[in-house]
């Protein structure tokens, strides 16, 4: 499977990573090489094999419904890029 430069830009947009038009070709070439390696999977017969999502067959543990956290927003916001009045600030969100 070979990617087009449009594919690369679509992925970049989906992943919110800017890729300069000039760099697209190099990114595309390296991704193509990676997929050439990965594509070996496509020909493996896996009929009837249950996908393995995890190394261990675990049961989900549950916690009791109790408030255990206190307000630590001042600590958490110490290194935040932009805050005011306890809010994280971002460029205007348009719904």
């Amino acid at each position: 499977m070979a990617l087009t430069s449009d594919d690369v830009q679509r992925l970049a947009r989906l992943a919110r990573i800017e890729i300069d038009a000039g760099a697209t070709r190099d990114v595309q070439a390296k991704l193509d090489a990676i997929f050439a390696m990965i594509d070996e999977l496509l020909s493996i017969d896996t009929a009837g094999i249950v996908p393995m999502a995890h190394a261990q067959d675990l049961m989900l543990p549950l916690r009791e419904d109790a408030v255990t956290e206190t307000d630590r927003h001042a600590l958490y916001q110490q290194g935040a890029p932009s805050v005011a009045g306890g809010l994280y600030l971002v460029p205007k969100v348009i719904e």
């Binding site: 390296k30 990965i38 996908p51 190394a55 675990l58 348009i94």
Partner: protein, 496 residues
């Protein structure tokens, strides 16, 4: 450089204090840092304060085996009040507001944290070259890689800076650098050590583990670090184990009598460097001499482990790294036009090329129309690989082979060819896919004097067994005691 076991004994006998050990470590780091770049952050004041506390605890009679031992954490583990960068520009200034569970456990065991070690960015790499803070270098030859992603942790021990370090292993990131740097490193069973506070790369594979000079040191660190954590839903609740007890028992003539060692055909074929193959052969001879028998086994699906890994790990990573968006912490671009532009630029600037590449691969394999073909397929092949191992462990107790197909390659040799870089992990990835424990010990060196690693894998929860095999090997050999040329001379006179 002494081992953790030797230092523990010296501390117990008051031949040395923790403050002296830490002062020595800090002095060594100061000398070695320009050469090996093993550390990203060193906190001398905090380390000396903790060492004084450790000595005080000892004076009160409250010391354990690890009390006062200086260690360093891979910079992917959160350390409260200390910078935690993940080797990335994204978190270059990030000060962690809490401790990872394994950090807490090792502190509670009395270890003294000296600093944070260099690593491939977000643990993505096999050479430490993707670090935003520059590559760590191999103490055996600074022109070569130390391995990765936990390269700084491995280099720090090989360079005799600290006797123990933590690492994380997602596809070989402890074992491969251990092999490259000629030290001992273990990746335990998935779920044995909590992932809480480990900045996630691939959550279903990420495994905290440890490095030390020898297997006994690893056993001591691992015992302190392992344990159930209710904050990690994949953490296992098992009774505590003393993994060093069997190691401390005195050796018999044939300490490995009855041990069946599986030799996978797939680990001994083409692609393995001749020097590596030779060293492994010699090591197998030593293991047989200790009483073990060897049996040929087949792990036919293991050859697919690299492509399986490079679907599953990037898929999980693409999602795990979405939180780095420049909103609540981390790097935010200086200039942007709107919200979407802020995201795209902050992430483009904050992440390096390899991380971006893997995010794009992961985004692709999860995207509409490709999920079944790639992601589900990879999970199916993951099961085939796990089935291979389950079958093999009916015929053998441990599986042994090379940790990596070659010794450490020169810095820059593979940076422009990601696929060649990925193939380095061909022998280590399977243990992450199955979740089983595996370790690497030094077993020889190339003509150029670069170390060669022997990988010992075991079934789930068989850490004690593989550590014992490694320990008996180390009792019969001295590869683990060798130090890189020039390293001892870097130590100030009179140090331990």
């Amino acid at each position: 450089m002494k081992t953790i076991g030797q230092l523990s004994e010296a501390l117990r006998l008051r031949e040395v204090s923790s403050v002296e050990l830490v002062q020595d470590a800090l002095a060594r780091i100061a000398v070695a840092q320009p050469r090996f770049n093993a550390f990203i952050t060193v906190d001398a004041d905090a380390a000396l304060a903790a060492a004084r506390d450790a000595d005080a605890a000892r004076a009160r009679g409250e010391a354990g085996a690890l009390t006062g031992i200086p260690i360093a954490h891979k910079d992917v583990l959160m350390t409260a009040g200390m910078r935690t960068t993940c080797g990335s520009r994204m978190l270059a200034e990030f000060v962690a507001p809490y401790d990872a569970h394994v950090v807490t456990r090792l502190r509670d065991a009395g270890t003294v944290l000296v600093g944070k070690t260099n690593m491939d960015e977000f643990a993505m790499g096999s050479s430490n070259e993707s670090s935003y803070f520059g590559p760590a270098r191999n103490p055996w030859n600074p022109a070569h890689i130390p391995g990765g992603s936990s390269g700084g942790s491995a280099a720090a021990i090989a360079a005799a800076l600290v006797p123990g370090t933590t690492g994380t292993d997602t596809g070989g990131s402890i074992r491969q650098p251990a092999a490259m740097c000629g030290i001992t490193g273990i990746k335990p069973t998935y779920g044995l050590c909590s992932r809480y506070g480990l900045v996630a790369f691939a959550s279903s594979l990420d495994t905290p583990g440890v490095f030390a000079r020898d297997a006994l040191g690893c056993a001591l660190l691992l015992d302190a670090m392992a344990g159930h954590d209710a904050r990690d839903s994949t953490s296992l609740d098992r009774p505590p184990e003393d993994r060093s007890r069997a190691l401390r028992e005195s050796a018999t003539a044939k300490p490995l009598a009855g041990l069946r060692i599986g030799l996978p055909r797939e680990y001994f074929g083409d692609g393995v460097d001749a020097a590596v193959a030779g060293a492994i052969d010699t090591a197998l001879g030593a293991l047989r001499a200790l009483g073990a028998t060897t049996v040929d086994i087949g792990l036919p699906a293991v050859k697919h482990s690299v492509p399986v890994y490079y679907v599953i790990a990037p898929a999980e990573a693409s999602s795990n790294l979405s939180r780095f968006d420049g909103v609540r912490y981390g790097h935010r671009a200086g200039h942007y036009t709107d919200l979407a532009d802020m995201y795209c630029r902050s992430r483009a600037e904050g992440f390096g090329a390899e991380v971006k590449r893997r995010i794009l691969v992961g985004t692709y394999v999860l995207s509409h129309g490709y999920y079944d073909a790639y992601y589900l397929k990879a999970q199916q092949v993951r099961r085939l690989i796990a089935q291979d191992f389950a079958r093999a462990y009916r015929d053998c107790d441990v599986i042994v082979g090379p940790t990596a197909p070659t010794a450490a390659f020169p810095i820059g040799a593979k940076t422009d060819d990601p696929v060649q870089m990925y193939l380095n992990d061909i022998f280590t990835i399977a243990a992450n896919l199955t979740g089983s424990p595996a370790l690497s010990i030094p077993c020889g060196c190339t003509a150029d004097g670069l170390p060669i690693g022997l990988q010992i894998q075991g079934n789930h929860f068989e850490e004690a067994r593989i550590l014992n095999v490694a320990h008996r090997f180390q009792q019969a050999t001295d590869w683990h005691l060798r130090t890189p040329p020039g390293v001892e001379s870097a130590v100030r006179k009179g140090g331990p």
